[in-house]
Symmetry: C3
Subunit: 364 residues, 3 copies
């Protein structure tokens, strides 16, 4: 417990935890102040996400390489998953899909671009291991192709009933999760020598005892879930207040909020000239959301959603994910980076954000 | 003749030749049993295709490097061509187009993926020459772009008359065949040192005399033509019986049946750690169908078809061919492979197959 | 002045300057002979463009590396810009957009392809520096993504008013120009060592005094502007006479005429086995038009056009630009070339030209 408090004292980002009780108080006192609740819940989720990823790593560090790798690979995007589950239970499928697509795009374009830019401003040319970057870009490309299929079919054939799309979505989800599991087997077991898994450990942080780590993981997850409820309830009316649509909020706001902690780690690694780590965080997260988190949500929608959710996305989101996946492939091909590469990635992200902000299209 | 019999004795695949007379007997006795005729004719085509590719190679081996290369390049997909011609004569253009698109996708995704997977299970990391892989991936990409144009034009401009599409298809066909011929000139004449053409010969098989080889080539081609007639006649009603559409049958069944012999060679080479050969067979076949077999069929439709055939494909087929060509480019870029790369390719193929099976779109 | 005359005497291309007065005489005498005026103005623009790029380089050579690089980067496509401005003032937006898309495609496919082919016929295998080729292909890809967005939005959402598209186009234009400026800062300032900028100078030409260079630049720009007026006035009726559409004229004719001088330089460099220079001219020009010339024209349309021009292109043009950008990325990835690579690029260009010629789609 003392370790946890020291951690909070040393990382200014965690001071935002003060907003967690503020959310619950505000919700009790003024449940109709959607705009304030929206802002407060965002401010509360950011430090919780940081704490969550710290706890996941602490558990992973205590459980050996393979189990730890598995934990990181399944719980690495726990914040995004918990927020999406809250939206799923509320039946806000546009928000869920927007946040999936947004997280993929934000990780491959914004997080990677910002890492390249910040790292490149300090270091003239940076190099990184491209073997694992390639595997992740490949998985991401595969998953994007799979996510594209139901939308393309629905587009091409107006007579295709929703039942067909749903059946296709479930089959694709099972296939994607199986492929993701095989990918883990590949990178954690048969070909682990290509993936420097040790690298993440030596960040000089104080090791947490397993008990504290698991307790933090459980407690913080519960808190994220509670704050997410408030967030999801307030999002629609708050977005309207700020002149934004559910598409923009899901695509940009949720994605950036859910990934804030990872973003901080990736940027700090890039400035320390450890670009391998930055690229690993950015692409690792994206290549986990597309073939694992997204299909899990489709399957879970049968258990907790008001109706089954499909993998059919708004065409623009599919195009954006495809462009993001292709850009990631092209960029990581060379294994070298300079600041302008980061600018190009950030500009592509900005173009997408601007398009969504200026002209909100009817997202599913 | 003795050589031919010994060949048949030594390769269990060729025992399926017993189904060839069975097809003709069954057609005489029960011409209305479409489902049985369909299955029998598939079982008969597989060994005939194997014998055909063996005979082509035997003739090629006897006629020197350049002529042999030319023969391999023009007769390498003779089975697919003969089946497509039977469908062309019957006016079944959906089947023809489906089998063209299906053969390209099956070769680049299924054959390449299965080779990488089987080879990778036995060998940790495999390397292969990527110069010729790149040329073939490039030709394939070019041909896919050409095949995409008429469909895109028809899509974009509903007022574009069928006459325009047809004129465009013929011009593109002539252009593609000319490019294919220049590509042969490049790989067989001016830059042959980059393409290890000798490699295919030394497979330890007994050399056939030229007479036997040519006689086998002619005889087996005739048999394939006869069996194909039965196949094409029975396919529509048989597909309906099995709950499949012409699109699915053309795209998956015809493509896999026509390429079964090459698939066997590619897989056996991959297990022997001769991945150069596997990649050569898979991409070589795809990069021959797209810029040579497909345009030949368009031109031949003027001679033997009931009406001219265009290059306009169902949009989904174009997307699948494009994704296959792009995937082949990305994958062969590194010249290295491990089992998971094979899994990714196979999953993309499975996604396409599943999409076609679950929701049969209106193919042309 | 003597230097200028000697230059004209030594370069047969410049003898076409005789057509410049011919255009003005013809316009006075027979203003209604559109077909003749069209041909005459094309013949007059070609040598003027050559002189213009010679003068730009002469000024650049006198003003030091950084300022010279800036000049080349902003005035390098002055001819295309002046023609486009004439069309802009006349409100011929289909011609403007066609010439932008056409210039990008012509530079990446036709100029690069012809260089690879002509160079490859003389030299077996040619190598070139791929670092700067990659930066330019990257910028081009980025700009193409940006140009794609307004068209995709307009396509996806029919209810999107023209106002939205216009607002989006202006924002994207500002963003692209800023990115282009950052790219210049990168290649001329922070990472100049990767970009062999000295290379262009040592072409053995006689240095011009600064006064002559600036006077020529100013005078020839004025002449190009005057001839462009005639060209734009005559183009519509002349195209109809020759059975061509504004789309085809803009996409093919204007692009090739405006780039004729650069084409001559690129081809001559390729034959001298200086492929670095050819690739630099071809991709440099394309990656200048997409993120600089095109957005400049959008912004300038507010000042001199009859109405604001958007970045919305005819879908086919977007597809062609995307394929051109992707092909450039794939091809320049290896840094090696042989004649068949050139054939493939030229065939893709021919396919596009043929499609536009056979079936003129409604551009704009």
């Amino acid at each position: 417990m003392y370790l946890l408090l020291r951690e909070i004292r040393d990382r200014p980002l965690l001071w935002l935890l003060a907003f967690v009780p503020a959310v619950f108080v505000a919700q009790k006192l003024r449940p109709e102040a959607h705009a304030q609740l929206f802002v407060l819940s965002i401010l509360a989720i950011v430090p919780l996400a940081a704490l969550l990823s710290r706890a996941t790593e602490a558990v992973a560090a205590r459980t050996g390489d393979t189990v730890g790798g598995l934990l990181n690979a399944t719980l690495g995007n726990l914040t995004e998953l918990v927020i999406a589950l809250a939206a799923l239970r509320a039946g806000q499928y546009a928000l869920v899909k927007g946040s999936i697509a947004g997280a993929i795009v934000a990780n491959t374009l914004f997080m990677l671009g910002a890492s390249f830019l910040l790292g490149g401003i300090k270091h003239h040319v940076q190099e990184y291991n491209r073997v694992s970057a390639r595997l992740q870009a490949g998985l991401l490309f595969l998953a994007t192709v799979a996510l594209l299929v139901p939308s393309a079919v629905a587009e091409a054939d107006a007579t295709a009933g929703a039942g067909y799309i749903q059946q296709l979505s479930v089959s694709l989800s099972v296939l994607l999760i199986a492929t993701y599991a095989l990918g883990l087997f590949f990178s954690l077991k048969t070909h682990r020598e290509f993936f420097g898994s040790a690298e993440r450990a030596e960040t000089g942080e104080i090791a947490w005892p397993l008990g504290l780590a698991i307790a933090t993981l459980a407690g913080v997850t519960a808190l994220v879930a509670l704050v997410s409820e408030v967030f999801v309830e307030s999002v629609q009316q708050a977005a309207a207040t700020f002149g934004m649509t559910a598409a923009f909020v899901g695509f940009i706001v949720v994605a950036l909020v859910g990934g804030a902690a990872e973003l901080a780690s990736a940027l700090s690694a890039a400035r320390k000239n450890r670009l391998d780590l930055s690229v690993g965080i950015a692409l690792g997260s994206a290549s986990q959301i597309a073939p694992f988190v997204a299909p899990m949500l489709v399957l879970l929608s049968y258990l907790i959603g008001p109706a089954p959710m499909s993998l059919q996305f708004w065409p623009g989101a599919v195009v954006m994910m495809l462009i993001a996946a292709m850009t990631a492939s092209l960029v990581t091909n060379s294994g070298r980076s300079a600041w302008f590469v980061g600018v190009v990635l950030l500009v592509v992200y900005l173009i997408f954000a601007m398009t969504l902000y200026l002209l909100p299209p009817p997202l599913q």
